[in-house]
Amino acid sequence: MTEETFSDEILMRFADGELDPETVARIEQAMEIDDRLVTRVAMFIETRAQAQAALKPLLDEPVPEKLVAAVEQMVEAKRASEKAASVLPFGGGRMAGPPSRSQWLLPIAASLAAVVGALAGYWAAGTNERAQGGLWVAGVIRPALGQALETVESGKEIKLAGISDRFRAIATFRNNSQDLCREFEVDSQDRSTVMSVACRSGDEWRVSFAVVAPGDAGGYAPASSAEALDAYLSAIEAGAPMSAEEEVKALTEVRQKDQK
């Protein structure tokens, strides 16, 4: 009779189900008559079970809210950046790029490049009503929005006349040509949010930047859109936001000019 010897590793593989069926059969057979073999196998089965049981409580432990929130936010930002980049009409394949690049670079670049041509597109593309009630066409602002830009203080929110979109003024500043600019957001009925910048050009407002961000909880564009906006603001060398007094003064001047 030949008594086959099995190494620890083979027995471990047996216990872990990582062994070919033939060897499994041979071990099973040997175990029938060899208690020592059974004990050796049992050790591997037991250590696995014990390790699992010992660390189970860690799995049941609630993940700290802070961590969950941080990760959720990252995921949201990622989704929003993809959405923002894909909403704006662009040939396919834009998102592909060297994988080592920062995750932000491409979406931002896509947003920025697309902005100029896409402004008309966004509002017109959605629905027909949207096309008629659109806030701007080819970068020129409709009266309702123009009025809001000239009257609403930063930090305030209004419903735009005639359409139920909500307008939120964020800040007022001057760009590198000293034109008066306003950063604002518009929540549309379909719950998306447009983060935008409009600047005075001659005697009208022109939208120079817009990112469409999918809104979920009604309002406030997610962080990735803000990144795109920040990139834009630094590109136009936006001055610091005006104080409330400065803003009132600047907006008053604009309104006075309008009346002339």
Partner: protein, 180 residues
Amino acid sequence: MPEKTDRVQDQLVAFLPNLRRFAIALCRSRDMADDLVQRACERALANEQRFEQGTRFDAWMFKILRNLWIDDIRKRKVAGPQDDIDERHDIAGVSGEREMEARLALSGVAQAIGELPGDQRDVLLLVCVEELSYKEAAEILAVPIGTVMSRLARARKNLAEATGISTAPTRSAVTKGATK
């Protein structure tokens, strides 16, 4: 464009408990673990396009997290051979580390796992606790599958010794379920 189902961003939040457990077992401090988990998620999202559809998401995440952890240890310039870069550090490291350990309130077995040499512990965590295959563990640890097996066998022998699991040839230790 791929639909939602298999994407990293859709699986990340649900996977946090597992990822965090692995991190706690690696660095034995909840604060460090949470930071590690957060950075791993960040990296995963940034490299989402590198995740191969159809492969195991958990294995991919564990690899990212463990690599970050290894980087951290390297940055802290722990002297000594690569093989045990982490374990001595964990135990003898920063003052207060012991305290943290106590706060973890780990069972004897968990304690024993924590005291295994790092290379043995990692493979034990991946295969026995997280239930990855040898092959997947080898891929995560960037070692040959034979190395995984020898480390894992040693890890379990050490664990059995530390926790008093019988290795003696008695019948009573044999029957499954009746071994406690």
